[in-house]
Symmetry: C2
Subunit: 648 residues, 2 copies
């Protein structure tokens, strides 16, 4: 805002803006360990003086460091620093008039332009003043050198005035008179797996070796080597807590369960005879109880896998919170506790928690302690169910305080809602988010969504995790397109985004029968125990393994913000590339799961160029020429190319 | 930033952003009296509750007012308020959960969906609580109505529960529990002529009736009716102060003046025998001194013209500041005052002021008093010479404090430099700016520059003033293109931007001989007295008058941010339109000053449409059909169309 009083102090230098930032610094940008924070600052000064601009940064537990920013064009200065530690860095830009640099630049032109000896000597005296001022900042040899140079200036030594070594020293000890510094911006640093990870979701209760039995976490642990072998990094389990009995749902979401039906894991219930009071910190006794969970985490850790738990803040009618804290729920005038409703629909098996309860402080702390309970048991990854139906202020506090102690945490937001809500959840602390990827099928849809997510400022804070299916989602495309469609969507998920996941068992087995009324699986595993053949040779196990190997071996596929789309002369073919250092991957996918499609792919190559493209998926190598090359893909034999470009 | 402690209070509602803003509110947006401030806010809440969102605004001298914002899509709410007074308005967005609206929406669905009578009665009791809470905010009849409705709710009256009148009252007296309000944003309101004005620049000394004489401001005043008749709003005079004698420049910027040469008005000098000490508050005695200036302002005011003065903060060697305040200038080691230099070039006739002088507070106040001196004499418009070579902090303070007392002021920034500097000068207080328009000649250049200036967020704070020529600028295009080129550039300036100006006399007379070495006029009036024929029938006087009449009669041409470009199938033809209410103007210009050009103009009209286009410039009417119509322009007879669209 304009000044209305004489400033107490002021500077000729103005920092117009510093990038990156999210909403002007209201929220941190996000990076992961191993990346770089590349900054750009717009900095101006009246007149034509030379500026010195530096990027200053500091990890929350480290000292301030600085790197110079280089002028690129139009008053913009650029440079970056390496991200080496989890947690939070702050960064600012400092800028000041480089008085000696400005002086020397003019002095050179005076000497060349033929100023008189008197004028040159006079200018050298001004230069000497600048050197003596720099010397006050220096010590030892450097100070002595600066003072000696000042003496030579005073003696009229033109060569000394032109000396770049003197300039370098003067720059190093510049007193930075009138330096200005931008407001601090923050970058939150997440673990690499927040950016680069493959998730595998499955129901432990469907892993019993004996048909008809309820699988345990020990049964599930026996699958971990297989999941690891397929190349996954994170195993994600639906809620593992005791399941509510009151109003329990039956097969395929029928309103009431038959005796013996297991219910939905998202109906989090009370004591089931395991000695706990039930609730969000208990483990369903039929899964083997808390000890089995600890063994599962240990087995996963041994495989190098991380375990992701599902946190669904809602309760079944027999959850202990209902009896212990009725004031944590909304009540009717008659004193009964409200169940979930979207009138005229009623969900009597679910009680929403009232985050605005008069006792909200105790409630919020208790809910946060659910995370803490599992963190203490080795869980660092959480998939949070419907975060957009709980207050944003709760998440900001809950995730912020958890991350302050545990910067290694990954929180995946399951918010399928409007962009502003999804983005705000990301800004305030979720570092992974589900997306609309599952419903973006055409080339145009995928291109515009990919550009929105990975090519705009949204990518500074929002990390998409691409899921082609979930227990809630079986799209028309997968239901109708069979095996080729499953391969197509798998390649797209695994290469457009560096973070992706699948609800594994039905995906592997192309078990894609849709429920007659809903875009989800028939015989949905949410409500019943299924059996899967873990060694079916016709499954997609091998295909997934191959794609995941390629992902791991190619750094270009470890990143998100490096996605570029390319033209192909066929609307059924989509092509995009990612580069990282000298690793260049070009992906071409046939979006048509029924027909062979071909076309000319345009890459930004010079006309005379000749280069090899190695299809890592199909193990074929072609030599291509110039910018346009022919591609042809058959959904049944070769649904996609995953090219690595090879030069020379 | 994420919260690290439990919040003291919090709300379920989050305002993501409010537009318009400049750099997140660091600077005000700009509007003029008669415009509207249209705002959009992104507002979200967890779950599916209905939100109430309102725009609150306040003129610096008025009470807070409010208008509701309407949901448009995806959590965005829009609405606006009328700008009625000069000065500063602040605006915020307030949002809260509309508890009764949310309740009634669900209640309607409950009634339709067939909830039991017991459930309906129970819900009505909850609704009654909301009404009683609203009643606490109300008085008199409204309160009585709310309480009566609450009683009917308690009695199980379903009709009352569905009543929109009750909803309206509940909305009006909503206690706004958990309301949140955005940070205040500012809009600076300038006079209409900061947005819509035609400027005419001329040298008063060239207006003497007798050849060879030095014209006075009284001579100049006699031209004012003619300037008014041509349709101009602002007459802009180069500096009117005594001209320095030491190192005075001769004809065409020769290093020394011959005896009797008048010198450059921008070399602001000392006492010339008029009894003042000279300097920036004096009037050159040869122009008639301060009394002639007062008469000039009075004559202009009588014509409805505003007078713009040129403020050039620099001094010639005989300016009184040099003797009175040597410490306001940089000195050499030998104690001499530095003149302007860009080594190896020396400008001994100009001493730059040292804004960083130890005595800067007194200096800044003195410089501001120069504006105050002329404001006291009726001047409200200032063209500021080279503001980018003076500190930005000075301008922020100087213009901010002046505008606080005089919101009617217009400041035109003469900064031909890089975008960030030009934009920052606009942000901190200049409300008009010179641009690169003079050098944007091709369709592609004009289109991309037009889109940058008028179609991006830059238009929120930066008001371009389009000048095809100035005493410093005679472009190749004008020099080579003669009369048609002058007409083309005039129409472009006067219709692309609603604020424009010309250095009048040579433009009118197509006096376009270029200096052999520079892109400026030969026999430059900056250094010598010229004579102009003010009643030359071959001049562009009539053409200018016609264009200015059309500008005044068509509200679409009074605005800047309404510019839209249209396709024409000829790279030499440019077309754009502006609309305001039901006034629609389409401009087509032939950029080729030598050859007839034709093509098909595309307008966004339905295929079957038939409409008349009235060329206000050439007084011709055509009936056009559909989206594509033929246009043909001849540089010698008809260089441009200025169509008004007429329907029905």
């Amino acid at each position: 805002m304009p000044r209305l009083t004489l400033p107490r102090s002021w500077s000729r230098v103005v920092i117009c803006w510093v990038e990156p930032h999210v909403d002007g610094g209201a929220w941190p940008v996000k990076r992961t360990v191993g990346e770089q924070l590349d900054a750009v600052a717009g900095v101006i000064v009246d007149g034509h003086d030379t500026l010195s601009v530096e990027l200053r940064y500091r990890h929350e537990k480290g000292p301030v460091q600085a790197v110079p920013l280089r002028l690129r064009y139009n008053n913009e200065y650029e440079g970056g620093f390496p991200i080496e530690h989890l947690g939070t860095y702050t960064y600012t830009v400092q800028a000041w008039v480089d008085q000696f640099g400005t002086w020397q630049d003019a002095f050179q032109r005076r000497v060349k332009g033929g100023d008189t000896a008197y004028e040159i000597e006079s200018e050298l005296k001004d230069g000497a003043l600048l050197l003596r001022r720099a010397a006050e900042q220096a010590e030892g040899d450097d100070q002595a050198q600066l003072l000696a140079a000042a003496d030579r200036f005073d003696a009229g030594d033109v060569e000394a005035g032109l000396d770049p070594v003197v300039a370098q020293l003067a720059h190093q000890y510049d007193p930075r008179i009138g330096a200005v510094e931008s407001e601090p911006l923050e970058v939150v640093v997440d673990p690499e797996r927040a950016r680069f990870a493959a998730w595998y979701e499955f129901f432990p209760r469907s892993t019993a070796p004996v048909p008809g039995q309820h699988g345990t976490l020990d049964d599930a642990a026996r699958l971990l080597p297989r999941i690891k072998e397929m190349g996954y990094d994170i195993v994600y389990l639906p809620p593992i807590h005791p399941i509510g009995e009151a109003f329990r749902k039956g097969k395929d979401n029928r309103p009431t369960a038959e005796p013996g039906e297991p219910g939905s894991p998202w109906a989090i219930g009370g004591d089931r005879g395991d000695g706990t009071r039930g609730g969000h910190k208990a483990v369903h006794p039929e899964l083997g109880g808390p000890e089995a969970f600890d063994r599962f985490v240990a087995a996963a850790t041994e495989q190098g896998l991380q375990v992701a738990l599902d946190i669904a803040f809602q309760t079944s009618p027999d959850h202990p919170y209902i009896a212990d804290h009725p004031d944590w729920f909304k009540q009717r005038p008659d004193g009964t506790i409200r169940y979930a409703e979207n009138p005229p629909k009623k969900y009597q098996d679910v009680h929403p928690i009232d985050f605005e309860s008069g006792d909200w402080k105790a409630l919020w702390k208790e809910l946060r302690s659910v995370f803490e309970h599992w963190i203490d048991r080795g869980v660092t990854v959480f998939r949070v169910d419907n975060p957009h139906t709980k207050p944003l202020a709760f998440w900001a506090w809950c995730l912020g305080t958890l991350r302050a102690k545990h910067p290694e945490l990954i929180f995946l937001s399951e918010a399928f809602t409007k962009p502003k809500m999804m983005q705000t959840l990301a800004k305030l602390g979720f570092n992974n988010s589900y997306t609309y990827f599952a419903w973006r099928n055409t080339k145009e849809e995928l291109t515009s969504y990919g550009q929105e997510l990975f090519g705009t400022d949204v990518a500074e804070f929002f990390r998409p995790n691409f899921w082609p299916n979930t227990p809630d989602i079986l799209t028309e495309y997968l239901a109708k397109g069979g095996r080729p469609a499953h391969q197509v969507r798998f390649v797209l998920a695994a290469t457009m985004s560096s973070a992706y996941g699948i609800y594994g068992p039905p995906y592997e087995h192309v078990d894609n029968t849709q429920h007659p009324d809903r875009e989800e699986y028939a015989n949905n595993e949410k409500y019943e125990i299924r059996r899967w053949n873990w060694s079916d040779p016709s499954s997609l196990q091998g295909f997934m393994q191959r794609v995941n190997q390629i992902r791991k071996a190619n750094p270009a596929l470890h990143h998100m913000r490096n996605l570029t789309f390319h033209e192909v002369s066929n609307p059924q073919l989509i092509a995009y590339s990612k580069s990282w250092g000298d690793n260049h991957i070009v992906v071409v996918v046939n979006l048509d799961p029924q027909h062979r499609q071909s076309g000319w792919l345009a890459l930004p190559m010079p006309e005379g160029a000749s280069f090899r493209v190695h299809d890592l998926l199909n193990n074929e190598t072609y030599t291509w020429h110039g910018s346009h090359n022919y591609v042809e893909l058959d959904p049944y034999t070769k649904p996609a190319h995953l090219f690595r470009l090879e030069f020379g």
